[in-house]
Symmetry: C2
Subunit: 265 residues, 2 copies
C-alpha cells in the first residue's frame, strides 16, 4: 500500500529534493526522473525506481498502477502526494504525474560490445546538461551502441540531462572515462575514430566511414584539443555558410550521426 505524504517538511521529500544537487546525487548514488512516459520506458528496460511519487489524482491511471505495482514488487516505496510536492521535487510549475528516484547506473568500457552497433558517440568535456540529454536522445534514435563521456563532462544524472534525454538515459549505455583509457580500449579492437573539427578540409559527405564509427564531439566552447584531433583516424567538418561559424554541439553530433547511419545502411 502506498503511503501518503502531504507535508513539505517530510524528511523523504527533503531528501529527494536534495537530489537536484550534484553533491547529494553523488553521496546517495541516486537520481530523479519524471513523467509517466519516461518512467514506463525505464520499467520496460528493467529499471524500477526505489521511490515513486505520484499525484493522488493520477492513482487510477493504468500506467501509474503498473508503476506502483512494479516498485512495490521490487521492494521500493510508492508515495501518494500532492501536485505542490511533485512541483517541488521536479522544480517545474506544471509537474508531471510521477517522479521516480532511481539508483544511478553505469557501463564500464570493457562492457561495451563494439560489435553490437555501427555507431558509438563520444563526447569530450561536454558542459551543458541539455546537450548531454539531447545527444543521448539522438543516440537512441540512430541506434548508437553507447555514449562515452571523456574527461570532465556534466553529470548525466542531473535533472536537466535526464529531462532532455526523454528516456534515452535508460536505453543508451553511458560510459564515463578518461581520454587515455578510452584510446587504449579503442585501439584494442576495430573502430574508426572520427573527430568533428573546423581545422580540416574533409567535408563530412565526401569521406568513407568504417563500422563501428566512434564519433567524437568536443567541448561546446573550445572544440577538441589538438592532441585529441591528432589521435583521430579522420577529421571531418560540416559546411558553415553563415557568419557565426559554429553549431550547437548536440546538433553537430546529430547531423554527423545521421550521416554515418545513412552511409552504413
Amino acid at each position: 500500500m502506498p503511503r501518503e505524504i502531504t507535508a513539505f517538511s517530510n524528511p523523504l521529500v527533503k531528501r529527494v529534493q536534495a537530489l537536484r544537487e550534484k553533491r547529494h546525487r553523488r553521496e546517495e548514488g541516486l537520481f530523479l526522473a519524471e513523467g509517466l512516459r519516461i518512467l514506463t520506458e525505464a520499467r520496460e528496460t528493467g529499471r524500477v525506481p526505489r521511490f515513486l511519487f505520484f499525484a493522488a489524482a493520477s492513482a487510477a491511471h493504468p500506467l501509474v498502477r503498473a508503476l506502483v505495482h512494479a516498485v512495490e514488487a521490487a521492494g521500493g516505496e510508492a508515495v501518494e502526494t500532492t501536485p505542490a510536492i511533485l512541483s517541488k521535487l521536479s522544480g517545474k510549475d506544471n509537474p508531471q504525474a510521477v517522479v521516480g528516484v532511481f539508483d544511478q547506473f553505469e557501463t564500464r568500457l570493457d562492457q561495451l560490445d563494439r560489435g553490437a552497433a555501427s555507431i558509438f558517440l563520444v563526447a569530450e568535456r561536454l558542459r551543458d546538461p541539455g546537450n548531454l540529454g539531447t545527444i543521448l536522445r539522438t543516440g537512441d534514435a540512430v541506434g548508437a551502441g553507447g555514449l562515452i563521456l571523456v574527461g570532465d563532462c556534466v553529470d548525466p544524472f542531473s535533472v536537466e540531462a535526464v529531462r532532455a534525454s526523454m528516456g534515452a538515459l535508460f536505453t543508451v549505455p553511458i560510459v564515463r572515462t578518461g581520454w587515455e583509457e578510452f584510446l587504449a580500449w579503442l585501439r584494442g579492437g576495430p573502430g574508426q575514430l572520427v573527430g568533428l573539427s573546423l581545422q580540416t578540409e574533409h567535408d563530412y559527405r565526401a569521406v568513407a566511414y568504417a563500422a563501428p564509427t566512434f564519433l567524437l564531439t568536443g567541448n561546446e566552447a573550445q572544440g577538441l584539443p589538438d592532441d585529441y584531433e591528432a589521435a583521430c583516424d579522420l577529421l571531418v567538418k560540416l559546411p558553415m555558410l553563415g557568419k557565426a561559424d559554429s553549431l550547437n554541439a548536440a546538433v553537430a553530433t546529430a547531423v554527423m550521426a545521421y550521416e554515418v547511419l545513412a552511409r552504413h545502411r
Copy 2:
C-alpha cells in the same frame, strides 16, 4: 562619456532587468543580448544597442571600446557598471563583459526574398526557447533565408532564445505569422514545403528536394497537425532505430537542413 551605475536600485537597472519578462519586452519593444562576441556580431550587421552595460574591468578592451563608440555615435547610452549588476541583468553567476539592450526587429513575409537562399526554416508552435535559438544558429550555418515562426511560438527575443542563438538572431531574418498567411504567401511563388513527420513512408534520403525548400517542423510534443501535413508538398521521416521514437525538434530540423543543403550543392 559613459556614465557609471553601481546601485541595484537605479531605475535603469530595474527597467533593463525587467526585460527578462515577456510582458516588459513587449511593452518596451526591447530585448537583452549579452557577450562581446554576440554584440560585436550584432554591430557588424548594423544593430547597435540602445543601452550598453559593460564591466569597468573590461573598459579598455578594444571590442568594448568599439561598442561604446558605436552606441554613443548612434545616440544610445553606454553605462559602466559592476560585475554584480551585470550578473543581475543577465541572470548568470558568471556574467559576460557586456549586456546590450536592443530594439526588437522583425521581418515581414513580403520582405523575404525567396530567391536569396535555397533553404528556409519554418517552425510551428515551437515552445522551447533553447530550441528556437538553436534552430536560428543552424539556420545561420546552412545559409537559410529566414526562420518563419507559425502560430503561437515562444518569443525569439527571450533571454534563453537569444543566448542559444549565439548571435544568429541578428543574422537570420525572423518572420512571425499565421498558418493561413504563410500558406497564401508560399503559394504565390516557387517553393517546396517539406514537413517532418512520423506518418509517412518517405525516407528523408530517398526523395528529391526542390529549391527553395521550406522545411516545416512541428511542435515539440505534438508534431504537426494533420491539416498542416496535408498542405505539404512532401512529408519525410528520419529513421528511428531506438525505443524512444523521437528526436529533439532542433536536432531533427538540423539533420533535415543539412541533408537539403547537401542535396542542393
